[in-house]
Amino acid sequence: MSKLAKKVALVTGGSRGIGAAIAKRLAADGASVAITYAKDATAASAVVKAIELSGGKAIAIQADAADGKAVKGAVEKTVASFGRLDVLVNNAGTAIPKTFEETTLEEMDRVIDINLGGVFAATQAALKHMKDGGRIINIGSAVGERVQTPGLVPYSATKGAVKIFTQGLSREVGSRGITVNNVQPGPIDTDLNPASGDWAVPQKAATALNRYGHVDEVAALVAFVAGPESSYITGANLTVDGGMNA
C-alpha cells in the first residue's frame, strides 16, 4: 500500500509516542519521513532505523519545538534532504498535568511555546514549499473540543487555539489545494499520558469505549488525512478519542 509514494513528510516530535507511530506509518505508506526531536537522539535514531529496516527513508533533525528558529531550520533541512515537502504533521506538544492554580507562569509559557508557537513557526515555513496536494495536519486534542477532565487547563487552552488555527488557515490556503486539518486524540497510552498514571482514571471513564487509545489508532487517521483520499477534507476537527466527546 503506497498511498504516499514519492511524498515527503515532516513529523515534529517524532522520536516517541504518537509522533513515532505517525512517522512509521507514513513511511510504511511510502513517504520519505523527517522527524524532529528535542533531546532524545537515541530514541530518534531508533525510529529512523526502524523505518529503514522496513525499506523506507527517514532522517532525524534535532530541533526543540519551543524554538521557532530551530523548527524553521528543520523544515528547510527536510526540503534540502528530500527535495520537497508534502505533509507537515505538527505533532510535538506537551502537557503539564496539575491544577491551574498550581501551575507556574514558566510552565504555562512552555506549553504555549511548544503547542502553539512551534506549530505557527513550522507551518509558516512549510507553506513556502507546499503545492497543490499539500497537507498540514495538526495534532490537537480531544480536550481542545470539550474539557471533560481536570488538570489540563493550559494544555486544553492551546489545543482549542489549534482548532481555530486549523479552521482559519484552511480558508487562506484552500485555493492552492492545500488542506489543513486537526486530528484530536483522546487519552492515548504514551509517556506524556500513561494509561497507568494518576490522571488516567477520570480520562478512561470519560470515554465511551472505556479504554485508552493506542498510538497506532491515531497514526491510522493521520495516514488517511495525509493521503489522496482526504482531498475534500479541510478545516476539519477529527476526534479519535474513544467517544470522549460524545
Binding site: M1, T207, G243, A246
Partner: protein, 217 residues
C-alpha cells in the same frame, strides 16, 4: 485492500449517489454488502451486478424507509440474509428539499424527518440485536447541520428544514456512541459538503447556485 473480508455491511439508499459509492468501496474492501433501495430497482440491481462482476458479494433489498414500518421490515430482511451479525451499518438514505420558508408544506417537513431521522432511529433500534462488539455505525450527516450556506433571505430558497434533520441525526449519533460504546459499537457521522450527485442538482439552477459556493466534491 481487504480489511472488511468476511464482514457484513448494510448501506441504505445505495442505488445512487453517496450510497452507491460507499457500497462499492465497502465491497472492494471485501464486505458482503446489502444494497438497500426504495424505488430504484434497476439501479440497485445493476449495482449488485457490478459488485459481483468485480468478484464481490452483494444483495439488493428494498423497503420504504419513509413509512412507520419501513425500518422494521428492512431489519427483518437484513437478519434473514446476514443471520446474527451486522458489522457495518451506513445510514445514508435521505431526502432533501430546497424552498423558501413560505413554500415548505407540513407534508414536506414530515417526510424529511420521517426518512432522515425517524428511519435511522428505528433501524438502529431494530438492528441492535445483531450489532456486536466491533460493529460500526456511520450516519451520513451534512456540513449544513452546523453552518448556514448560500444567501439567506426570506425570498431565497433554503434547505433549513433538511439541515435541521441532520442536526437531529448528529445528536442521535452522539447519544448512540455514548450508549453503545461500552458494548464495543462505534457510532460516527460523516458530514459531506456539496457533493456532485442527483440530490445536489438544485445547486446547478440559478436559485441554488449560491448554496454550492462554487465548489463541489
Amino acid at each position: 485492500m481487504t480489511t472488511l473480508q468476511n464482514k457484513t455491511a448494510l448501506v441504505t439508499g445505495a442505488s445512487r449517489g453517496i450510497g452507491r459509492a460507499t457500497a462499492l468501496a465497502l465491497a472492494e474492501a471485501g464486505a458482503h454488502v446489502l444494497v438497500h433501495y426504495g424505488r430504484s430497482t434497476q439501479e440497485a440491481r445493476s449495482l449488485v451486478s457490478e459488485i459481483q462482476t468485480k468478484g464481490g458479494r452483494a444483495d439488493a433489498i428494498s423497503a420504504d424507509l419513509g413509512t412507520p414500518e419501513g425500518a422494521a421490515l428492512l431489519a427483518k430482511q437484513v437478519r434473514s440474509i446476514v443471520g446474527n451479525r451486522l458489522d457495518v451499518l451506513v445510514l445514508n438514505a435521505g431526502i432533501s428539499k430546497s424552498a423558501r420558508i413560505a413554500d415548505h408544506t407540513v407534508e414536506n417537513f414530515d417526510s424529511l424527518f420521517a426518512i432522515n431521522v425517524r428511519g435511522p432511529f428505528f433501524l438502529v433500534q431494530q438492528l441492535l440485536p445483531i450489532l456486536c462488539e466491533g460493529s460500526s455505525i456511520v450516519a451520513i450527516s451534512s456540513a449544513v447541520a452546523r453552518t448556514v450556506v448560500g444567501k439567506p433571505g426570506v425570498d431565497n430558497p433554503s434547505i433549513l428544514a433538511y439541515a435541521s434533520t441532520k442536526g437531529a441525526l448528529e445528536t442521535l449519533v452522539k447519544n448512540w456512541a455514548a450508549i453503545l460504546g461500552p458494548s464495543g459499537i462505534r457510532v460516527n457521522a460523516v458530514a459531506p459538503g456539496v457533493i456532485d450527485t442527483d440530490m445536489s442538482n438544485f445547486t446547478k439552477t440559478d436559485a441554488g447556485r449560491e448554496v454550492a459556493l462554487g465548489m463541489q466534491g
